[in-house]
Symmetry: C2
Subunit: 444 residues, 2 copies
């Protein structure tokens, strides 16, 4: 009975516009949260049941953090948001005319507004052997794969050393990271610290002075999107930590136990991490969306599909018009968050207009505002670049990096756990997550 | 040059007796640590690269703790013990006459003293379908399997409810735990709290009043090894939390979506956890050891093989003579730790005697001393039984349980992380590790 009286004040749930958000990354979450007070019914669908804090994936790969520290159950994020629900599902198709998302699980998701936020994947740029023999770093599953593989190779090196196989030991204790952007720099610093600290103590019989961490970059400097001074700073700090830099160097192919360069040289190595670039999620093309540069979807000034203004494409997947930024909008978390908020703003205006029977309030076009960028090189060292502001390096930069990442993590529990682990790692030089977790072999 | 002078004081490493410890559980670790000051060369070999704190496995399965909280890299445990080294390896055979352990990895491990501490595995007692369709709980891999499966079934239930399939929902939101010992009681309490707290909020569209946690026990009471009063306490607390008890009930067979009982009744259920018993690791039989009751290896009063006094068998694997305890020695952590220390004592006496050219000091026979047992029923509730001492229940028992488990965990970092997570779980009723971590599907 109360519902009849209420319905005059508030539309019943079924009459509220349905917003479907595909992807629970930074962009999708920002969009759904920004619609908190809007009378819509939001469904966030992601192939995983959790949000992954991608900026710290490299710390999982280098045994500094556990999986549970950087993941957060998506349903949990929306427990207190009454107009939103999260489900795990793999999107297999979108009927843009009938406005229905199809999932592998057989659950159709009809929508009035759609936000596509499915991000990016590792791009191999056609280099032979990368897909088969190199590791990407876009999910916790991949981070755990890297960690497991490296720890297994060090166990193998220990045996190879006892059997008198120095070449085998060299390949097993070498890690080649391709790509000198923030991810590559952070991985190289993380592995240098893992090997020089805990693994050196774990493997007293191995001569880890001969272990190598090699960072390969096609350009003649690191951190190409940062100011040259910061790239040089990263070079000198990584070199001081024992990382070998191989600048102006192009990978020609990756084999199971070697990486070959365009200049004819090669390195015997069992572990190659590919951090040389990303491409928009290929699912976009499979869904029939017109894709442009880097597989990204060309959108209008409101990040909408030109033919379907009810479909917003945000984050790494979107290619906003040139006016949105001085140059192409970078594929970074801040752009995804800003894009998600912009999509929410446009949807809010449309919903308000429909309720009031008026024309939607005009919303200004999407503009990406650069909040700066940062990368850590490891212990006490990071580079921070603020737009038109100061460039910070060394310890102050590192503290700024730590603080920002702690704040950006979702949930008090994850923050507390990360803080405990960082304090532990810092004070003891240890990396507590040196675990090889494998499915049990069948018995008998 | 210095080594020549030194060798008169201390035998060179190669002349020190070699101790191989197979298994990095409670028993193996206790033995290796107790040999800290003894001039031997210890190698601890385990199929995993980490120690697993088995008493808290059920908390990983019920999403209260992460894997990294309860595992500790074995090499890290022995970083500061100069006479010990840890390796990951799968033992495939032992040549008891030539005194060499063979591993799958091809590394032979010669020994002068061997400590076999390979523990126990889940025993299905021949019940049809248990091996195929029920989950055991002896490793973190199994704990993660249970967690993943339950969370997936709740996601499925959410879809089945939308599709109007109440029977499917019922099976997907039912968990049957077989075995009313400490593990079964703790799992049942853990799942009741997981469902009643976070999952109820995660799945607002599901009617979780109809979700079931069923604890099955063949005897007419829970916690058969505890005093009857404590078993009754566990019954009433679990019932108050919504757990259905099915006492005096025998499982006849397990199917993918049902469990059938000897009395002809059955429950439609997608998740069956088998906590009804353990058997000694079948590897013992494969190694050619004579096994007795429960697959355990019969040993002498010093936990040695009668034919090979240089081989000690400890922990869940060993069946010490009747004199060692009032009844058979239970397969619990305390017995494994005491057995490990006893083996170390016998080896120390032998090493001392050899160095001094004397006959070994006589060591008293192994005696298991019961330190008591405890089980938690969940939030604010546990049962604690001290030998010839008081029986503690409720909040004081729970605090004692928490304190003991924190102290027994290895490493400050793990303790700090567990404390953070327990505080979080207690204050918020949340379970932060509700994560489905799956290998990435191949793209394209």
């Amino acid at each position: 009975m109360a519902s009849t009286a209420d319905s005059s004040v508030l539309p019943a749930p079924s009459t509220r516009p349905r917003v479907v958000v595909i992807g629970a990354g930074f962009g999708g979450l920002a969009a759904a949260r920004a619609l908190d007070d809007v009378p819509v019914e939001i469904t966030v669908v992601d192939q995983r049941n959790h949000h992954t804090f991608q900026p710290l994936l490299y710390q999982v790969a280098t045994a500094g953090l556990g999986v549970d520290d950087i993941c957060y159950a998506t349903r949990g994020i929306f427990q207190r948001q009454d107009n939103a629900n999260a489900i795990q599902g793999r999107v297999t198709g979108i009927d843009f005319d009938r406005r229905v998302v199809a999932t592998e699980e057989g659950l159709p998701l009809p929508y009035d507004h759609l936000i596509l936020a499915i991000g990016a994947v590792t791009a191999d740029f056609g280099v032979v052997g990368v897909a088969e023999h190199a590791f990407g770093l876009k999910s916790v599953a991949e981070a755990i794969e890297i960690r497991t593989h490296v720890l297994r190779r060090f166990e193998a090196a220990d045996r190879l050393a006892r059997n008198g196989d120095p070449d085998g030991v060299a390949a097993a204790t070498t890690i080649v990271i391709v790509g000198g952007g923030p991810t590559g720099v952070e991985m190289a610093g993380g592995f240098a610290e893992l090997i020089d600290g805990p693994l050196r103590k774990d493997f007293p019989d191995l001569d880890l002075d001969r272990a190598r961490v090699v960072l390969v970059e096609a350009a003649d400097r690191l951190l190409g999107t940062f100011a040259p001074r910061l790239g040089h700073h990263a070079c000198s700090r990584l070199t001081a930590r024992g990382v070998e830099l191989r600048l102006s160097s192009t990978v020609e192919r990756v084999e199971p136990h070697a990486v070959h360069f365009a200049d004819g040289s090669s390195i015997a190595v069992d572990t190659v991490v590919w951090a040389a670039g990303i491409a928009a999620n290929p699912l976009a093309r499979e869904l029939g969306l017109p894709t442009g540069r880097g597989g990204r979807v060309e959108v209008d000034e409101h990040l909408r599909l030109p033919d379907h203004p009810e479909v917003h494409v945000i984050g790494d997947l979107a290619l906003p018009p040139a006016e949105a930024f001085d140059g192409p909008v970078p594929q970074v978390a801040a752009a995804a968050i800003q894009g998600g908020r912009h999509a929410a703003e446009v949807i809010t205006a449309a919903v308000d207009a429909r309720r009031n029977g008026a024309i939607a309030e005009p919303v200004g076009p999407f503009r990406y505002r650069d909040k700066g960028s940062m990368a850590t090189i490891g212990r006490n060292a990071a580079v921070v670049e603020l737009p038109r502001g100061p460039k910070i390096t060394g310890f102050p930069g590192w503290v700024a990096w730590l603080a920002l990442h702690l704040v950006m993590l979702i949930g008090f529990r994850n923050r507390a756990n990360v803080l405990v682990n960082w304090a532990w790692n810092y004070l003891t030089y240890d990396r507590g997550s040196r675990l090889i977790i494998e499915p049990d072999e069948p018995e008998g």
